[in-house]
Subunit: 324 residues, 2 copies
């Protein structure tokens, strides 16, 4: 096993080596731009780690790993158009730097480029790898559609929310881990355990993201603190707040989320305090700890050797206890 940074470096080298045709520039420059913005590269690193942990080599998995990162960035690109987001990783989003049409079409091309990378796996694994990838992609679109549907629904339960983030965020982490196992010829039981590990890590990761929007360190979070609060985004916190607030607290919550253009410098601290009065920070920490434990339990079900298991356990704990 190598360190996270060593896997990250392999991924970044492979991404830097992608050879985009020079023309049409408006098709390929936005893809190169998006892929150059960096990020944790968590999905491809999980694929490489899972492959090596199950006895394969990083080289066997690098194309599929890059394919998953291309896919992930394609979803961000199209989501940014749909959400009218202006900034991604501190830089203008593609539809802001170019325009919507360029963002739509270069996103489409990224999805096909992703599939091309996945299809470079050895013939022995091709059918399963392509099938896993396509099934995961469909689930992610379902998750994104549910997320958009939630914006206009007033009856979203915590269970609905958890199912949405399972689809939108977590299954790709599960896919990344399973893909590594598959390419290393791991058993079906190992592949299933790797998938469960990834999905539960993804759930913990997203709940952590929701919490960081409220209690994160502005210096390291990368996005503005309180963005979800400003937009009344139905996160784990808001949905639980709507369920738990009674009497005066319920009235205060309704006031803030129905006030048109409440100044964010008032709304964010007010709702943060309300969330704390409702004990949501503890509730959130407990949920994160629960999924973290499920991810570790799935890890324990794999037959990977102890040093690899150790490396995954460290990664899971660091990701779900992150402050940025």
């Amino acid at each position: 096993m190598q360190s996270y940074n060593e896997y990250l470096s392999l991924v970044n080298q492979a991404i830097a080596a992608i050879n985009y045709p020079p023309t049409p520039a408006n098709l390929y420059a936005p893809i190169a731009y998006t892929m150059s913005l960096g990020g944790k590269r968590l999905r491809p690193v999980l694929t490489l780690m899972s492959c090596e942990a199950m006895g394969g080599t990083a080289a066997q998995a690098i194309d599929a790993a890059v394919g998953l990162e291309l896919f992930h960035n394609f979803t961000l690109l199209h989501d940014d158009v749909m959400d009218r987001a202006d900034v991604r990783r501190g830089q203008p989003t593609v539809h802001r730097r170019w325009n919507d049409n360029v963002a739509i079409l270069s996103g489409d091309a990224m999805l096909t480029l992703a599939t091309q990378h996945i299809a470079r796996v050895s013939l022995k694994h091709l059918a399963q790898a392509v099938s896993l990838f396509n099934r995961t992609a469909i689930e992610i679109y379902e998750g994104q559609q549910l997320d958009m549907d939630f914006e206009t629904r007033n009856d979203v339960t915590v269970e609905d929310y958890l199912e949405m983030i399972r689809l939108k965020t977590s299954v790709l982490l599960g896919c990344a881990c399973r893909m590594g196992g598959l390419l290393a010829n791991a058993s079906a039981a190992d592949c299933d355990a790797l998938y469960d590990m990834g999905v539960n890590l993804g759930l913990a990761f997203q709940l952590q993201d929701d919490a960081l929007d409220v209690w994160g360190d502005p210096a390291t979070f990368g996005k503005e603190i309180g963005g979800d609060i400003v937009n009344n985004k139905k996160t784990f916190l808001l949905i639980n707040a709507l369920q738990r607030a009674q009497g005066e607290e319920a009235r205060e919550l309704r006031l803030w989320i129905t006030a048109p253009q409440a100044p964010s410098e008032c709304k964010v601290p007010a709702l943060t305090k309300l969330y704390e009065r409702l004990n949501l920070r503890t509730l959130s920490d407990e949920a994160i700890a629960r999924y973290n434990a499920l991810a570790l339990a799935a890890l324990a079900r794999t037959t990977m050797p102890a040093p690899a298991r150790e490396a995954f356990a460290t990664l899971i704990t660091s990701l779900t206890g992150r402050r940025a």
Copy 2:
């Protein structure tokens, strides 16, 4: 060999049998809607015909055929968003009936559904089928980007235009024919000839489409006559007109294409007459005949039996001599 209508019926049955999940409705209903609008189903019919012509069965090729039709309709769906088109096959486009976000996301899902259908081919053909499909998809995005780039370019040559329509339209017909051959285990030479036949058919088909926009029968064309003229769309006709018009005719042409909001009931007949004075109807007919002949020559290079060759020749001639 079966008749076009028999292949069409097989395709429509397979499309009607696609089992979309009931939820999220905003993801799947637009896909079912798009696929229910009908059309010639030319691409899947070409795949089935090519497969049977080369000794295979329609059953071997039906999944890939439906995959290509899903892909084609995905490109139309996203193109309609990019072009702000309101009507497709006489019905509201998805982004008009729902909204842009629904159109973007359900289009993404259609692309993955298309890939899933392609990936259902037998394992023996999987690598080649997926590779052919992905390569073709990338070329089509390149063609669409060039088409959008042309809108703001004033130096588009006839050669540029032909390369754009080769990418945007023709390679998918080539891919459809080659896919059928591939699934029937045809030789590489046969597959190449099938591909060339499809590409040249596609070029003739698109040039015919450009001509029908001007000289088509409004009762059968499906779209409004003169749409390209109204929008100054750089078609084979306008590009040739810009090259050929001299003196008074050049001034008249410039006047019409620079006049802001020229009434279409004046602009369309005026430019139609100008195109005729410049002999563009003949030029267009000659170009269509040339690609028609190239398609027939490629057909002649295949080793398919005479009845199949006959069926293709009839189809090619009818498609490139169509009046609607």
